[in-house]
Amino acid sequence: MPVRFLKNASEIADVSMESPLPVRQQGAITTRPADTLLVATLTVDTTARDLLGSTAAELPTLDNCGQYRKLVWLAHRASNTAINYTIRARATDLAGTPLSSGWQTLASGTFAADAANPNWVRLDIPATGDGYYDQYRIEVSVASGTVVLTSKIVGVR
């Protein structure tokens, strides 16, 4: 039996694709915000450490990221030096405790020295598909010497 509704003052119509039920929008249409999750400066050396300077492998760089489809890592390096990175992620339980120790490695690679872009680098985490991991650990290192790296992590819903 079709559902009918008062389409206007004098017409009763069946609900259909061409004649859907009227709806009233509640509140304004809001944009999907992208949140700044971290801004940090680190002197990168030959020891793999996360963006906060930690070498403790179990410590996350970012927590409570489950709502974000992906993270965008935007960074400025003080010199045109190759920087190695490793991105790890894991899920937590409802109490925020990791489901287990260790991490899933999402990506590892190098921000190569680049004459066209000597200072600015960028990485999408994950590179394809969706993230929605709860915790991330982002480690960086250089082959030799040091370089100052200022990072910004943006979480995209």
Partner: protein
């Protein structure tokens, strides 16, 4: 009691082909205006100060689209390039200079309309520059979108199999 005899069932195996596509669901106009460009690299606002962006607060946007129109009858190359950078929580750039996103050249005419897609979103600030050997008016509109990458799944029922009666 004997084993049940299975009737013949038909099943299908799906050969799945997935294609990714970008579906914007929110579009905003970030800037509109005209630029009198000349032989200098000028921001769309006309300035030649490389510190100044054309848009700020572009963090939420996945990608930007720069569309425009160049006036003038004599063929001339209009060069364009796009820069981006990130800022900290106080709005101060993380470092000096800009990240080079890309550059392009169009010859007007025959081309008068142009469209530059800027796929690197989520930078906080962008600077869009134009120049041409002959002074030229360029009308621009910069829009930005938020969206999702989706996967379009095609199921090709290419194979069909028939379960055989299992051995007793």
């Amino acid at each position: 009691m004997g084993a049940a005899v299975l009737t013949t069932l038909e099943v299908r195996e799906a050969a799945v082909c997935q294609q990714r596509y970008y579906e914007p669901y929110f579009v905003a106009v970030l800037w509109e205006g005209r630029t009198r460009c000349d032989s200098l690299w000028r921001n769309l606002t006309g300035d030649i100060v490389p510190l100044l962006p054309i848009v700020r607060g572009a963090t939420p946007y996945d990608r930007l689209y720069w569309t425009g129109y160049a006036l003038g009858n004599a063929p001339v190359n209009v060069n364009m390039r796009v820069w981006a950078r990130a800022v900290d929580l106080n709005g101060v750039p993380l470092g000096s200079s800009w990240r080079a996103i890309g550059q392009a050249t169009i010859q007007t005419p025959p081309l008068r309309w142009f469209r530059v897609e800027i796929p690197e979103g989520h930078w906080d600030e962008y600077r869009l520059e134009v120049r041409s050997a002959t002074p030229r008016l360029v009308y621009s509109r910069l829009i930005a979108s938020q969206g999702y990458w989706k996967e379009w799944t095609r199921c090709l029922y290419a194979f069909s199999k028939t379960l055989r009666r299992l051995p007793m």
